[in-house]
Symmetry: C2
Subunit: 304 residues, 2 copies
């Protein structure tokens, strides 16, 4: 089962020659969740070869332009490609007024519905759930309302031990029941318990997305134990006061936050264009939270 993050854009508000504004795709068992949609997202999708049609859910953290200005182009191209599946957008309710005029002006009939789901910026909430995973939004703290997102696989049922099926001649119709916790009684009347017939499924995986924000303690609580955490690190510690003033985080703060959240791994991004190189971000963060990596546009990060 795939659980893989692809970074499409990792710059802060001002893009650079090598970094696009924020956008990511999380692939959870072939569900492709688009997280933020900065300008140029559709071009990065072309480059990474991610199918427009597989993206049916878009999560927008907040309404600064570098996090949503790629939406109209993405929707327009998705339509021009002839796709017909509805598109669900989870965002601040103000988004409708910002992009609907452009959608109304688009050429051609829309072949699918764009369905807006307003987020709650006051408290965490479950915003998506299907057979294999769920998505939660939770408040962060920035100059305008912003939500983080937590993507979590559901715990899969245990796997049958193949040899036991043969050994006890277990009919197919019994398998689901055994996976759900039942035992099995053989033709000879011998009862074999659930634990002897199954092995536990691998633990479920999780990913949390936190940008734009100061290091916000209630969020660390909420996502505690997450496998992979993306946290913004717009500045280095030399700019900590400016980070505070603009309600962003430094690399050090992102690392401290990852520690508090007991994250498995930290990926940092949203780098300010004032820094020529991003290596110092890694140095600063890894000194505190060694399992840190740098976001890089176009690169994919499987979560094991």
């Amino acid at each position: 089962m795939t659980f893989e993050l692809t970074i499409l854009g990792s710059s802060s508000a001002l893009p650079t020659a090598g970094r696009y504004p924020t956008a990511q795709v999380l692939n959870v068992s072939e569900r492709f969740f688009l997280i933020d949609c900065g300008e140029g997202t559709q071009i990065q999708l072309r480059r990474t070869g991610i199918s427009f049609g597989k993206i049916r859910h878009v999560f927008i953290s907040h309404l600064h332009g570098d996090h949503y200005l790629g939406l109209t182009g993405f929707i327009s191209s998705r339509n021009l490609l002839g796709l017909r599946s509805d598109l669900h957008i989870y965002a601040h309710s103000d988004l409708v007024g910002l992009i609907q005029p452009q959608l109304n002006y688009m050429k051609g009939e829309m072949g699918f519905e764009v369905i807006f789901h307003p987020l709650n910026f006051k408290k965490p909430g479950l915003i998506y759930s299907d057979k294999v995973c769920e998505v939660w939004s939770f408040p962060l703290k920035h100059s305008i309302p912003v939500c983080g997102f937590l993507f979590r696989e559901k715990q899969a049922m245990p796997n049958m031990i193949k040899e036991k099926i043969e050994e006890y001649n277990i009919p197919f119709r019994e398998i689901q029941g055994i996976k759900r916790g039942e035992g099995f009684t053989t033709a000879e009347g011998i009862f074999v318990g659930h634990d002897d017939l199954t092995k536990p499924a691998p633990p479920s995986r999780s990913y949390a997305f936190c940008t734009d924000t100061i290091p916000y303690e209630p969020a660390a609580e909420f996502i505690r134990g997450v496998n992979l955490l993306y946290h913004e690190a717009t500045f280095l510690s030399d700019m900590e006061q400016w980070a505070e003033k603009t309600l962003h985080s430094t690399a050090r703060q992102a690392a401290e936050f990852a520690g508090k959240a007991e994250a498995g791994k930290l990926i940092i991004g949203h780098f300010s264009n004032r820094y020529k190189s991003v290596e110092s971000f890694l140095e600063e963060a890894a000194a505190i939270f060694p399992a840190t990596i740098l976001a890089e546009d176009g690169k994919s990060y499987p979560i094991e």
Copy 2:
């Protein structure tokens, strides 16, 4: 004096991994005119190193998304960079309703004015004029109102022949008058005519931009003799019927149009993403109009 076109984007509505939606910059003696502003324009400006601050005039041909969706991001970044010069946008009046909600939602105070100048889609009109050049809009024909743009250097005054200044001991204060057409009378009372004192300036140069459109004869009339013509060639002749239906042009039609316009050189772009390679566009057009070149993102084309 510079007169140079830089292509930022040359794809049609659907961008590809290698081509952005339409955007160009024309540099006329250090005036940087942005022509169309598809999604990703600001990223291409970063890559080509063209200064955001030097762009003070933006010309939008029509309101399909692939020609204007980069505007909000460009304006936002221009503001974040601390630039203070006003920005003039020449476009259909509907543009205001499409991008003003997003501009109003931007973070931070705007440090400059965005001034909208509505275009006339019924007949040609002078829309910009300064000391060295002028810009005209003129109607084209597509599924929604669309204008082409003609950029023309003003004819410079003739240059003084340096040796004559020494020979006749001409004082500095007389120079402007002579350039404007006067003669000069020496201290000895000898009259020397304007033509003997000056040599003509190089002829003025011009550039015309025509997209999205069918090959539209009145436009060929209007731009007759243009030095460099950009004309869309969305399809090859194999798709001529589809081109007609969608009100676009084929490479052959672009070449025929260039011939009618007596253009010096033709540059074609706005290639449909259905073609894997663009070499066939060049073959098809150059067979009719040999001085044809292909638009390439990030490349500059000086006009001699």
